[in-house]
Symmetry: C2
Subunit: 146 residues, 2 copies
Amino acid sequence: MIVLSVREPAELLRQHGLSITAQRIAVLRAVANRPHSTADVLTEDVRAEIGVVSRQSVYSALGILADKGVIRRIQPAGSPALYEDRAGDNHHHLICRTCGKTVDVDCAVGQRPCLTASDDAGFQIDEAEVIYWGTCPKCLEARTDG
Amino acid sequence: MIVLSVREPAELLRQHGLSITAQRIAVLRAVANRPHSTADVLTEDVRAEIGVVSRQSVYSALGILADKGVIRRIQPAGSPALYEDRAGDNHHHLICRTCGKTVDVDCAVGQRPCLTASDDAGFQIDEAEVIYWGTCPKCLEARTDG
DNA sequence: GTAAAATACCTGACTGTGTCCAAATTTTAA
DNA sequence: TTAAAATTTGGACACAGTCAGGTATTTTAC
């Protein structure tokens, strides 16, 4: 099992005013090792690292980390929530309709982009969530083979 | 109860090769009368119109209508699926984080836009789903009042 | 218009994500 | 070290949506 050093997970937690617990550190590591994973998958990874953890602890850690902006949660249609450690840069996602493969895409417009709708209807917009749906190279190939 | 004539719902069904049933017609009318509604809300509306309908029939009708492109389904994070009759023009949405109010936004770029990611990673993109998150005028006002 | 075939509908049980609660444990501050 | 605060735990629960079958309706062919 590969464990990347996530710029000192404990340090990250402290910076955000969160208590440092083995569970949270393991969750941070799991998200960093396998971005775009579901809570269930991450729970397995966490268990592989620290042995035992409750489902609720993982949900709670993911929830509070997402709230604090340490990680990001995305909820694509027809899929449970996915978590990734790349947060705060408002990047977007490309999802394969066939296999669910998810990859990051930088925003086409610039650094903090996409926050302008053609007509904002008086809303104060704070985030533009963009998901590109399509078919990944592998599934395209499989289709032409069939 | 206001019932708009939805360009002859029966005609719409026929055009898409679907059997014409009272349930489907009522579902189409409900979606047209109250866009951005959940399946539950639409089920109530359908019952108000034709008396009795099963949950599954509404789900099934919504599913097949969305598949055929007659209506559109959106699944915002933290909300059950919403349905709208404006389909096929790839418009986007503006959602209030506080009250959930959802409004349509035309795409800033043009007619069939947004299908270009900065790096498509070899994917064949068929849809760009854009959700602008923010606070609606009413909730902004309520906040400054408090 | 009628009968056969195809399609859709209904009842009821079930699954998968995610949340709520009170008790026990761990972390933090003094 | 000790007490207060925060976190974790286990179990039950809620919600949206799906599956399977038998029955009723619609469509098609005559």
